[in-house]
């Protein structure tokens, strides 16, 4: 085994290091799922207690922004998966541009989310004295709406930081993308962010719209 610039202590074998980074990220993802599980549990309890209010409140979210964002995020998952495949196929330049596309799409997601938040605030959908909807359930729905999308957006931002780091590190050294496991770990994390959104989308946007 020749020494590689991507080999870090305590490893003496790049393949083992790659496997360990991958395993570590999988374990961390399980932990992340449990972080969101607390929110899903709370949402589930209150939706069970106030089914009609939840449907009514859910219909107030902006389905256009939500759907566009779902498409953006799923496309970004495709592009980061392509980046990994291309790096392994020894097409590092192309891989780098796919990673860049992921960064742009992720940033676009946050921009769209920002416009949606502005609209939500204009429509008084933040639970407080000015809250637009009456009754007990809707305020609980929107509490979870803001916290769930907020925590998710924080994860998107974290993922973008990791992708940006990878882009900078691999700009002059494209082999970085197929090296010590950083690309795979970043991609795994990004896919998780995507998967969480795929669960949030029906919970927050589709409920209450099923009967027209």
């Amino acid at each position: 085994m020749t020494a590689s610039p991507f080999l870090r202590p305590p490893w003496d074998n790049l393949n083992r290091q790659h496997q360990a980074v991958s395993l570590g990220m999988w374990i961390f993802l399980v932990s992340e799922i449990l972080l969101f599980a607390g929110l899903f549990a709370g949402y589930g309890v209150y939706r069970h207690l106030y089914p009609a209010s939840f449907a009514k409140a859910s219909a107030q979210t902006d389905i256009v922004f939500g759907t566009v964002n779902t498409a953006i995020l799923m496309t970004s998952s495709l592009s980061i998966a392509l980046a990994g495949g291309l790096a392994r196929a020894r097409l590092p330049r192309l891989a780098w541009y796919c990673l860049l596309a992921t960064l742009v799409l992720g940033a676009a997601f946050l921009v769209v989310k920002g416009f949606e938040y502005r609209e939500d605030i204009d429509k008084h959908l933040f639970p407080g004295p000015q809250f637009a909807l009456g009754g007990t359930g809707p305020a609980l729905f929107f509490s979870f709406y803001w916290i769930m999308t907020g925590v998710h957006a924080a994860h998107v931002s974290g993922g973008l930081a990791a992708i940006a780091r990878l882009l900078i590190a691999s700009r002059n050294e494209p082999a970085w993308l197929s090296g010590g496991g950083s690309e795979e770990a970043t991609a795994l994390y990004w896919h998780l962010v995507d998967v969480i959104w795929i669960v949030l989308y029906p919970l927050l946007y589709l409920n209450g719209r099923t009967h027209g």
Binding site: P9, V21, I27, V30, S31, E32, A41, Y50
Partner: protein, 545 residues
């Protein structure tokens, strides 16, 4: 390799691998990070201990004459938060786990050394922030942060206090991920899963709980922050929220957190008992299954904290049954430790005395846990000193005894010096008596009806409180003694040599203290408990003979 081929200059040990403060603050050496954690948790332990010392002094008399009600509430809250999150949860894993896990499996370091260092900075930053806000602003909710009091009524610095706890939680998750990946990926050739020392298995089981339970706590505390900051109705019953949801989420973490504290203690006790009974550990495979069993079942018992909360009686029955189930693997462990002692050549060293303390106190704490898992008895003693005594027997009696046992057992490995045996034995015995004198009266007064967290109490309970405070003074002395003689031994203790206990773990094949890369030659992997040499047990200690 012949002697002539050895390098002229010896390899420096990890303590002399760099001399500047920066070489410590920027280290990625698991051994040095273990030391950094040890110093930090000692600091927080002292803060938590001072807070409870004032509480115990206050309780000497039935009237509230030393501190105000408000200060009293803040003191026991400070004690609880600091001791649970900044001492007990990290204690054994971040110190001995960090130091020993790579050594025990024959690795050079943990899988992710830089993440390991980051976890120390997160721990220190979060814990210092929380303690500073508690001391500056005060939190009076108790460590449990029950809603709706914590979200709607408490005037203290709840928001900032929980923020620090969340940060420390991330540190826990990082340690857990690191330990699991290390155990999977960095075992030396020949170190199969069923040759792992039980301490490594205990770290593995603990890490599983850390990784799976801690994020739920983080989210729960984040919900508290959201409710306090933005006045969201999440746990507010007057606006449709459910305070019991908080209790479910909180105990989903906080019951498994007890296993984060006690599983490592079980690992330490297993190493010590096998070594000083000079016996192969009885029922090794069952010890492993029991560790994993406790970690898994521990996730499904949280409802026993809520028997009087108004949850469904059917839930009570199920949680009661599941809580009894945890006793099965726990009992397997106690019986196997006892069976290991049977016909052993027992040496009563200080670590062994601490291990015996652990064994006895864990048994009492565990059995009283069964009382509390029984719904009718729990209804009688809920929120009394009976509960306080029970969880201190587990969390202090068992965990802290094992911590001190491990500290003495591995002290020669960590520092290269032997501690003074006679003083250490005296401290161990004093700690055992001090502990029982502090907490056994609390079982009695709790059963008689003394509620926990009360500042002023009826005079008939005074005798128990006086006994308890007297015991706490002894306990405090017993905690200070090792601080004195261990520091003394750093300078004047006898040199230890690689394996002063003739123990079998891989860590004893490394020099004491180990060099930066742990082993000078690749360690020889075998049975971790091969204590049956044909020539019989050797005389272990000169001054004991």
């Amino acid at each position: 390799m012949t002697d002539a081929a050895l390098p002229a200059r010896p390899v420096p040990d990890y303590l002399h691998h760099g001399h500047t403060i920066w070489s410590w603050l920027s280290t990625t050496d698991h051994k040095r990070i273990g030391i950094l954690f040890a110093v930090s948790i000692t600091l927080f332990f002292t803060i938590g201990a001072v807070a409870i010392a004032v509480v115990r002094l206050e309780l000497l008399t039935p009237a509230g004459d030393l501190v105000s009600d408000d200060t009293y509430n803040k003191l026991f809250t400070l004690h609880g938060i600091v001791m649970v999150w900044f001492f007990l949860v990290p204690s054994i894993p971040v110190t001995f786990g960090n130091f020993l896990l790579p050594l025990m499996i024959g690795a050079k370091d943990l899988a992710f050394p830089r993440i390991n260092l980051l976890s120390w900075y997160l721990y220190l930053g979060g814990a210092a922030f929380t303690v500073a806000t508690i001391i500056a602003g005060g939190v009076d909710t108790g460590w449990t942060f029950y809603t709706p009091y914590s979200t709607m009524f408490s005037n203290g610095a709840v928001l900032t206090a929980v923020a620090g706890v969340i940060v420390v939680g991330f540190s826990s998750v990082m340690t857990g991920v690191n330990f699991i990946a290390t155990t999977h990926m960095l075992r030396a050739p020949g170190m199969t899963w069923f040759r792992l020392p039980l301490f490594v298995w205990a770290m593995y089981a603990t890490s599983l709980v850390m990784v799976l339970a801690t994020p739920v706590l983080a989210m729960t505390l984040l919900l508290i922050m959201a409710e306090r900051w933005f006045e969201l109705p999440i746990f507010d019953p007057s606006r449709g929220g459910d305070p019991l949801l908080f209790q479910h989420l909180f105990w989903f973490y906080s019951h498994p957190a007890v296993y984060i504290m006690v599983l490592p203690a079980m690992g330490v006790a297993s190493e010590i008992i096998a070594c000083f009974a000079r016996r192969r550990l009885f029922g090794y495979a069952f010890m492993v299954y029991a560790l994993i069993g406790i970690a898994v079942i521990g996730f499904f018992v949280w409802g026993h904290h809520m028997f009087v909360s108004g949850q469904s009686p059917y839930a009570n029955v199920v949680f009661s049954f599941l809580s009894f189930m945890v006793a099965v693997p726990s009992a397997i462990k106690v019986f196997n430790w006892t069976a290991t002692l049977y016909r052993g050549s027992i040496v009563f060293t200080a670590p062994m005395l601490y291990a015996f303390s652990f064994l006895g106190l864990f048994t009492i704490g565990g059995l009283t846990g069964l009382f509390l898992a029984t719904v009718p008895i729990d209804i009688h003693v809920t929120d009394t000193y009976f509960v306080v005594a029970h969880f201190h027997y587990i969390m202090v009696g068992a965990s802290v005894s094992a911590f001190f046992g491990g500290l003495h057992f591995w002290w020669p490995k960590i520092t290269g010096r032997l501690y003074p045996e006679l003083w250490a034995r005296f401290a161990a015995v004093l700690m055992f008596f001090g502990f029982n004198l502090t907490f056994f009266p609390q079982f009695v007064m709790g059963y008689l009806g003394m509620p926990r967290r009360y500042h002023v109490y009826p005079p008939e309970f005074q005798v128990y409180h006086v006994l308890s405070t007297g015991g706490a003074a002894l306990l405090g002395g017993a905690y200070l003694m090792p601080l004195a003689y261990l520091v003394w031994s750093l300078f004047y203790g006898r040199r230890a040599g690689a394996n002063p206990w003739e123990a079998q773990g891989l860590e004893w094949q490394a020099p004491s203290p180990p060099p930066h890369d742990n082993f000078l030659t690749p360690p020889r992997v075998g049975d971790p408990y091969d204590y049956h040499p044909p020539e019989g047990p050797a005389a272990l200690m000169d001054d004991a003979a």
